[in-house]
Symmetry: C2
Subunit: 379 residues, 2 copies
């Protein structure tokens, strides 16, 4: 569902609403909550109607898109909180190694959550290096490598397989942030040997504003990785109301408190859009869109102070195209007023997200025409 | 909104749906998300339409019900996660004192979250004593007192003012769980000198299944209490995308990741029910309902193996009445089948929640008639 008259290039900030969502929300509110009330928590599990198992059902849908087994994924909370869970668990496994290595340009909340964890444990070093220097800094004192696969500003995609392998060779555990990956292209966490991952339900997964996030924990870590946010919904038997925590099997243990069912239900419905989608097709369409967009933008780079910051090598980009412009903030405001909705990102980035499930090549042409008109009007 | 033919005595597990919720959800989905898309995050703030400030607007509505200032309340995440935030902050303030004192019968997730925090810091003792022995255990080695004001099984209400004062006299910080308090009667956190509190949006506040929870941090602690779950939504300037965390003013710093807007909007609407409600009236009605219920149940206690476990002293009970019964699980299943919806709680508790905003005295009579019929049928 997209309003007419807009070119919406911000699906990597808030994905468009799948048409099935309002009816699902209406049903969950008026029927499941309003009529069935508390009974919905334990409603017909065979028919997949119980809220208790809803996080697991959503996890299975996410797992397929990220190369994970269903029991390796927990859905709920925010990406920030899941980053905390992943870092706390990974650092526990890392033992004496108390350095978290990360990209200096990583999305801020990833850095902040690491800082907060350091506040609590008192012994962490958050080592921030430029992304190009990550590989050279995979040294023996590093415990955890925390990276976002696709940079939120530039759209640069890291080589997850290579970096994961290099980290593993040094005994370093990986935590991948898939905020700009999940739903944008096929991710193969297990194929890459990733240890932990987190991601976002509201960007390319179209789960709605602030949709529940997800956490991946590779099966080989389930026995040893501690559950630091140990809540009753991750207990082996929540309604036993036992006095001591005992983890549920698999990644379900990383579900903490009572899930926000309305938001979780919207995400559940949104993910059905992907049910018959081959992620290789999605990637092919995405690259075709970004190729087209960049080609159409080419002539504007000679006329206006625009600099492409997204890698031209296809393997090195995600599903967005970004440019620097000295008045990026003002240019984006003009674009939005003209119905071309992208994002300004500090300090000087114009960011255009390409969402293969609902963009056409004609949208690319229309967007560039609009960008051209705005830049000409400002010249 | 309650279905016909039911007596719903489980509003302390999942509050009934306010009639205004479906229209609000429909608007948020179809208009704010579907049509306005990303622009809703920063929509007209003067008209209170921006999602960015939605957590603060909801916090102000909660604050009024719990005796807090609006800037002392953060809304979001689950009660479990907020308990973690509160314990981590309180323990930091407690310095060398590494003992958390709690009621052995506290709600499990409170205990589990303390256990999880201990997993991370390695130096905590969770000291569990019967609730009657709490006061005697407020000793100089205790750093934090973690209590739920109203026991989820028995409905016993602790004396928050007295216990907070006794704790404070010993240099002990308090963390109060208001899961069965907020919305059930007026809470006066600042009047009691409480340090931290958490609570639940989906019980007496009627915010919907798994509704966002809340965290109270007394203003006097804002400067010194560390933000351990430091996410971008609690940053002083989220869109600056700064590399280092800097806390937002007041309790907003304890908002972590992107809020689940659909669930948060339902809670926001639900709280409007309380806008013109005097919580003293709510308490008076609640006590009248529980008096009536207990009086009507009286004759059944002589005929069936029922034992009242809720205090008869009015100051000592919340807004529920509970009985032990040796076949409590089976009795509650029969009651639910008969349209009398309460809760079974391990090991042998029949729990009946009384929600003054939507229960009448006639409901009490009808419920007891149903209970009588079920017990007679089983005899």
């Amino acid at each position: 569902m997209l309003p007419g008259g807009l070119v919406y290039l911000d699906g990597n900030s808030l994905g468009a609403m799948p048409r099935s969502v309002p009816a699902r929300l209406s049903h969950v509110a008026s029927q499941e909550w309003g009529q069935q009330l508390i009974r919905s928590w334990t409603a017909d599990a065979e028919a997949a109607q119980d809220w208790m198992a809803l996080p697991d059902r959503v996890a299975a849908k996410v797992a397929r898109l990220i190369g994970a087994a269903p029991h390796e994924v927990a859905v709920g909370d925010s990406t920030s909180v899941n980053t905390f869970k992943a870092l706390a668990a990974a650092l526990s496994l890392a033992g004496e190694r108390r350095v978290i290595l990360t990209d200096a340009d990583n999305f801020p909340t990833d850095l902040y959550m690491a800082q907060g964890l350091g506040t609590l444990t008192g012994d962490l070093e958050l080592r921030r290096v430029p992304s190009a220097d990550i590989a050279a800094n995979l040294t023996g004192d590093v415990g955890v490598l925390l990276l976002t696969e696709v940079d939120y500003r530039t759209g640069r995609r890291l080589d997850m397989a290579a970096l994961s392998a290099q980290a593993r060779a040094q005994g370093i555990l990986t935590v991948w942030d898939l905020a700009h990956s999940a739903g944008a292209f096929g991710v193969d966490l297990n194929g890459c040997g990733a240890d932990f991952a987190v991601g976002c339900g509201y960007k390319f997964l179209n789960g709605g504003p602030g949709a529940p996030a997800f956490l991946f924990v590779a099966e080989r870590h389930h026995a040893a990785a501690p559950v630091v946010l140990s809540g009753w919904m991750g207990h082996a038997d929540p309604f036993e109301m036992a006095r001591d925590y005992a983890p549920a099997p698999g990644a379900r243990r990383f579900v903490v408190g009572t899930p926000q069912v309305l938001s979780l239900s919207a995400l559940d419905t949104a993910l059905d859009v992907f049910a018959d989608v081959d992620m290789a097709d999605v990637r092919e369409k995405s690259l075709s869109l970004s190729r087209t967009f960049m080609a159409l933008m080419g002539p504007l780079l000679a006329r206006f102070p625009l600099t492409l910051v997204t890698p031209e090598a296809e393997a090195e980009r995600g599903s967005q195209v970004s440019y620097r412009h000295p008045q990026a903030r003002e240019v984006m405001a003009d674009l939005i007023a003209a119905g071309i909705i992208g994002d300004f990102r500090t300090p000087d980035i114009l960011r255009f997200g390409l969402t293969p499930l609902y963009h056409s090549h004609a949208d690319m042409w229309q967007a560039v025409q609009g960008i051209k008109a705005v830049l000409e009007a400002r010249a």
